[in-house]
């Protein structure tokens, strides 16, 4: 009996979906918008998150040593830095490396190079470039470096300066901008999603409102609530499935068109590539969301007319 009923409910759902073609079409289009917004939320999140990660990755600090600092002292500081859990990478540049770098950077600037040649010896100190796992941890690392036992050997300071304090403001600002941008974007999209789900819900309710007399007749013939409701829920799920397929297809040209722009703007994340590589996650998610919204909307909408 259960199997027979299930079969009948599903068949009836399919048949009604087809026979109410126009209602189905408009419901699908409305739901497509909902799913499109939902998909956009995913992409926005990915892009902003990617940007944030990349910007965080660009943040580092340089520790400049005095010219008289001995290489083994610097190396030992590097070693102790590397043992810190907050530190992800430390790169040592010797005085010679720094000089070569400097010359390369100013190769078009004859005056600077001449001035450099005037000096008998290399005026530049060695540098340790430190990258933390998270930008918020730099303060702790700097405190560690500034402590006497690290920055001094034989009572003489060997650390000339740490550029954290100059960069700090910029780093903090950038992190905050991206952070609040991300929050604002997700918030707006969240509102859009709520609105479009409500519109979808209302559309389905209208579609079922058309059938209210039908529901009353089914009641009078003695149909159980489940049996009346079933086909409507099936139709709701079908709206979701078709909408997800349409949305999935629309995202192909849409992300392709936006792909290059986002790759430039968000430093290397191409939404199109992301969409293609994550299709097996994104599409089932759209499918599931669509089917769920459709089924729940139908279920709740029919309830009103079942009270005969």
């Amino acid at each position: 009996m259960l199997w027979t009923n299930t079969k009948r409910v599903v068949r009836s759902g399919f048949v009604n979906f087809w026979r109410n073609g126009f209602v189905s079409l408009s419901s699908i289009l409305v739901m497509t918008i909902t799913l499109f917004v939902l998909g956009s939320l995913i992409f926005t999140y990915v892009l902003l998150n990617g940007a944030l990660i990349q910007i965080k990755d660009k943040v580092d600090i340089n520790v400049y040593f005095v010219t008289t600092a001995k290489e083994e002292d610097i190396k030992s500081i590097q070693k102790s830095l590397e043992t810190l859990p907050e530190v992800s990478k430390v790169v040592y540049s010797s005085r010679e490396d720094v000089l070569a770098d400097f010359k390369k950077r100013h190769e078009n600037d004859q005056f600077t190079l001449q001035a450099l040649d005037e000096l008998q010896e290399n005026p530049l100190g060695a540098i340790l470039n430190v990258k933390a796992k998270d930008p918020s941890q730099y303060a702790g690392i700097v405190r560690f470096l500034e402590s006497k036992s690290v920055s001094q050997t034989d009572g003489l300071p060997i650390v000339d300066k740490i550029n954290y304090n100059q960069n700090k403001v910029a780093i903090d600002k950038l992190t905050r901008i991206i952070d609040s941008g991300q929050r604002l974007g997700l918030f707006l999209l969240g509102i859009l999603i709520v609105i479009s789900i409500m519109i979808t819900f209302n559309t389905i309710r209208l579609a079922i409102y058309i059938s209210r007399d039908e529901i009353a007749v089914m009641r009078l013939v003695g149909a159980s609530s489940k049996y009346i409701r079933g086909p409507f829920v099936i139709i709701g799920i079908m709206y979701g499935i078709f909408s997800a397929i349409i949305t999935g297809l629309i995202f192909l040209p849409a992300t392709y068109y936006l792909g290059r722009a986002t790759a430039n703007f968000f430093t290397g994340i191409n939404v199109y590539n992301y969409y293609i590589t994550h299709f097996q996650y994104i599409f089932p998610m759209l499918l599931g969301a669509g089917a769920l919204i459709g089924a729940v909307s139908s279920y709740m909408a029919v309830r009103r007319y079942l009270q005969v």
Binding site: V15, N16, L220, V221, G222
Partner: protein, 226 residues
């Protein structure tokens, strides 16, 4: 079989549809309920279908109070009643065949039963050729015959017909009445409301006359008197 025990119905706007009505309908009776529009005929039928609850009194089917049934029991109860309405109330998105099949599906009949009974019952009301037509492709008389076929397909104990001929021309009216008589002859209780004098006179069975919510006449072999 059906027993109205001092039933009153007052609608929320204080209009009195039924006023202290009591009567009994025996198995296999053919009862015509007549009266002016608004006299309370339809309310009376809605009571039997449990579409409306009485304000006072009770309606019994055999020995159960209809209005104390639970949702589930109600569904079973309604399957024992075949209903026919003035406005047909067919499912617009289903063909004649599917409309009747739906009533059988609801009653839990197997696919085999449906496949054999539906064409048979459509043949009975002379609609074998319109089996796959949708309601909007059928005439009024044809729609009403589909509705009758749907009402009788599950072999109900009672047929309730609420002005079934109200929207039909005299020839179709005559045919519908003949079908209802035939159903009654085969052993089903029929309750019919109408304000068509011809129909009542042709049936020539018990007539209950209602006016302003009260029963004013109950004749064993009645004529239409108002």
């Amino acid at each position: 079989m059906i027993y109205f025990d001092q039933v009153s119905k007052i609608y929320p706007d204080n209009s009195i549809a039924l006023d202290d009505v009591s009567f009994t309908i025996e198995p296999n009776e053919f009862v015509s309920v007549v009266g002016h529009s608004g006299a309370g005929k339809t309310t009376l039928l809605k009571m039997i279908l449990a579409e409306e609850k009485p304000t006072e009194g009770a309606v019994y089917f055999q020995s159960t109070n209809i209005h104390e049934l639970r949702r589930n029991e109600m569904n079973y109860f309604r399957r024992k009643i075949g209903t026919i309405f003035q406005d047909f109330r067919l499912l617009p998105n289903k063909t004649a065949y599917e409309n009747i099949a739906f009533a059988m599906e609801v009653a839990g009949k197997t696919d085999e039963e449906i496949e054999s009974d539906v064409p048979h019952v459509l043949e009975l009301v002379d609609l074998g050729k319109k089996m796959w037509s949708f309601p909007h492709q059928l005439s009024g008389g044809e729609k009403q015959r589909v509705a009758i076929a749907r009402a009788i397909v599950n072999h109900p104990d009672i047929i309730i017909a609420d002005e079934p001929t109200g929207n039909l021309d005299p020839i179709n009216t005559y045919e519908i009445v003949q079908i209802l008589k035939k159903i009654n002859d085969l052993g089903t209780t029929v309750i019919l409301t109408t304000h068509n004098k011809g129909v009542v006179d042709v049936v020539n069975k018990r007539v209950i006359t209602i006016e302003s919510g009260k029963i004013i006449r109950d004749d064993k072999e009645g004529k239409y008197v108002l």
